[in-house]
Symmetry: C2
Subunit: 276 residues, 2 copies
Amino acid sequence: MNFTQRLRTIQRAKNSLLCVGLDTDSTKIPQSLHIHGEPLLEFNRRIIEATQDLVCAYKINLAFYENMGAHGWSTLQKTLGYIPEGIVTIGDAKRGDIGNTAEMYARSLLIAHRFGATTVNPFMGFDSVEPFIRNPEQGAFVLAVTSNPGARDFQYLKSGSRPLYEHIIRRVKSWNTKKNCGLVVGATRPGELRRIRRIVPDMPILIPGVGVQGGSLKSAVRYGCNSRGFLAIVNASRSVIYASTGEDFADAARESALALREEINRYRAAYFGRPH
Amino acid sequence: MNFTQRLRTIQRAKNSLLCVGLDTDSTKIPQSLHIHGEPLLEFNRRIIEATQDLVCAYKINLAFYENMGAHGWSTLQKTLGYIPEGIVTIGDAKRGDIGNTAEMYARSLLIAHRFGATTVNPFMGFDSVEPFIRNPEQGAFVLAVTSNPGARDFQYLKSGSRPLYEHIIRRVKSWNTKKNCGLVVGATRPGELRRIRRIVPDMPILIPGVGVQGGSLKSAVRYGCNSRGFLAIVNASRSVIYASTGEDFADAARESALALREEINRYRAAYFGRPH
């Protein structure tokens, strides 16, 4: 089963487009967890336990683990072990390098860590992306329009009649022979999301930027989904995992994830009818 | 002392523009090293010992360490411990992410690992680069034109009268208030290198792609140096560290590095006169 099919199957089975981002920061987790030998891992374990029935994916931001050196990689590996089958795991690493180096990064993320998908930076072109899309079962979400202010610096530069991001998505479309390519489009860019979904009607789109970054959930669903109300992956990180800073963090994360999933599903029903 | 001044001082003191890339791959190091508890570390230790008087910098390609998980990060940390003072250490990680994540990556590379400089991907714009250029003593080499075939996919797209890479370098020039920004320009792109050096007469340029990738050393020196014959950093990785696959790998690496440094210095003398 190719990645796009797998994602659709999981989204249908879980009735969820929600992805929770495990951007776990040791300075932000409850103080009480520091009695554990591995406080970040315990935090992740409890977040996963509390939210696993509500999500189609978990996104793991590698910066937050890399930042802890050797120990971080062990936490990452063990965290992946807590995520049940039937949920997409996204290694949010945004790597991009020349062929032989991209190959090493891909080997680490897709073979050693067995992520179901990764995020990839397109700046260095095809040979920097190819190792990430070699296996049809594993996906790669290529950055198109990002949610941050700096997105304006280069992604919107017009070449011919089209902005850079549109050149990128058209190129990614041509690379998608195995149906395992996706795009990253920030929820803070609803107009662009709408435009992009028209160009790639059936490509998975990872949409970060709702929650703390302020993107509209309604637009993310309305413009991010395919015509059947699938293939948008709406990511929330900080607004879910830090919903409470107290002992009740896992319950609070669950409530926050549940509310997001239901809001997403209300918009899906409104714009696409019953999922089909 | 800002990064640009520091680099110039080191290049003068060492009479070298050569950077050796420690892209150390466990499948390529001599079999005999595998009796050591940490074969990659032993390989790096001997390469550094054999070449440290010949280089201005070592570039460590993070993919090759990340690929080994927790153990790789420990090897990376210990390798940095073998590099003497007075040599620039470049963490070649090409990271690029939204502000709070870029901050985590920068903290890992610049504070935890204390790299003297990093490579950074500009695609996500200023807030993705800013954490890497906050400390004037530590540099960031921003990707402009890369040495790989995929560089053609997006870096040359024209916006207005200028290719994307030129928009990037002009933007980086405006970010360079602390004199710690640099650029990455592949040695396989001599025409672009020449053009870029005219726009940024005194910015460090990291030039990978001589050796295995086939870029011209002569052009790298001629077009990459500032008017005084400094601030180009010519990187060679595989052609130096794998100069021999036998027991004599360290001696062979030294010979290869020595030959490169001398050839570079001959071109410097020819094009810029005695270093001044």
